[in-house]
């Protein structure tokens, strides 16, 4: 599939914004930047236009599904978006999030243990 490569024209405002903490720096390819963030196991936020380009499983990430959107700056295109998808490093997931399945299993386990007389 042919791909058009168009050199991005950075404005002064965009250059300054790119220097903001955690942002993609001027001239940096989005793919390489994403790989860097993933290597650091940081949370990744991607807007609707960028999220389909990211394969979370390949880099050990898990998409947050219980809260499917967040408001954040897209790590792909550096744009603030109120409908970003967010991805958490798999090993850190249970530290910072719990899923409905886990809580459901805990509730079922509780009921079962009570039935057996010891919580």
């Amino acid at each position: 599939m042919a791909e058009l490569l168009i050199k991005k024209q950075w404005t002064r405002a965009e250059q300054l914004q790119a220097l903001e903490a955690g942002g993609k720096k001027k001239g940096r390819a989005a793919g390489g930047w994403m790989a860097d963030i993933a290597a650091q196991k940081k949370v990744i936020t991607l807007c609707q236009g960028c999220t389909h380009k990211f394969n979370p499983k390949r880099v050990g990430y898990r998409k947050e599904k219980e809260f499917p959107v967040c408001q954040a700056k897209c790590d792909g295109c550096s744009t603030w978006d109120p409908f970003c998808s967010w991805y958490i490093y798999e090993e850190l997931y249970t530290t910072v999030r719990s899923t409905a399945e886990e809580r459901r299993a805990l509730a079922a386990s509780r009921a079962k243990r009570i039935a057996h007389g010891f919580l």
């Binding site: 903490a21 936020t45 959107v69 408001q71 954040a72 409908f83 530290t95 910072v96 007389g117």
Partner: protein, 232 residues
């Protein structure tokens, strides 16, 4: 600590902030930096906190080298993802002790037919568990909980009676309860200590309790001193 949604049901707002110090751990509450600090945030202390920014989502640890706070020229800047919603709810495991071991179960040593007292082997008056919560792990009251109305030595008295208890029944108590502000964290600042007197420690307010066994009971809390509401 696990992000468990916002009171208003809104989507989480995620920002990236610069660390002012080392010790950033995923799930911890982070606070605005003190005047004159280098970065933008510090991790909460275990026993007190002010000007909370939100909860940390990552550790910033790379596969080869940790991305940590550094003042060395040329070092990577330590930047972390933070959920900043002021009304966020955090689900936290209840533990005992500074290092975070399982809750300590106590055993009924004197049975009471009225169900108004739980008389165990350890003191509930020091640290004082008055207004905290007590729940049974075994016996006729297994799974049931009550607010502690008063304490004296090893006796916790409740106002709404349990069923009659028996010698050997096991129970657990915690210095936490709905609407109480203050919880002491472990040294890792990731879990809540249940063995500390009520309303002590970090400014976080209990909104929910999941009273299960000694290793899988949780408290859900909101931030009580959020910098987005008022700087203190």
């Amino acid at each position: 600590m696990q992000y468990a949604g916002c009171l208003c049901g809104a989507a989480p707002v995620i920002k990236r902030y610069k660390a002012s110090a080392t010790g950033m751990v995923a799930g911890a509450i982070v606070c605005a930096q003190a005047n004159g600090s280098s970065g933008q945030m510090i991790v909460t202390a275990a026993t007190a906190t002010a000007n909370q920014l939100g909860s940390l989502l990552d550790t910033g640890v790379g596969p080869n080298a940790p991305i940590t706070y550094s003042t060395t020229q040329g070092a990577d800047e330590a930047v972390y993802g933070v959920i900043v919603n002021p009304d966020q709810m955090l689900r936290v495991l209840m533990v005992t002790g500074a290092t975070g071991t399982a809750l300590t179960a106590d055993t009924i040593v004197t049975a009471t037919a009225s169900g108004l007292t739980t008389i165990g082997g350890t003191s509930v008056a020091s640290p004082d568990m008055d207004q905290g919560i007590v729940w049974y792990l075994s016996g006729a009251n297994v799974g049931r909980s009550r607010t502690i109305g008063s304490t004296s030595s090893v006796t916790a008295t409740v106002i709404v009676p349990f069923a009659a208890n028996a010698i050997g029944d096991t129970f657990v108590y915690a210095g936490l309860n709905i609407g109480l502000q203050g919880m002491t964290l472990t040294t890792s600042v990731q879990n809540v200590r249940s063995d500390i007197a009520i309303a002590t420690g970090v400014n976080a307010t209990t909104i929910d309790l999941e009273l299960n066994g000694i290793s899988d009971s949780y408290v859900t809390a909101t931030l009580g001193d959020c910098v987005w509401c008022q700087t203190t």
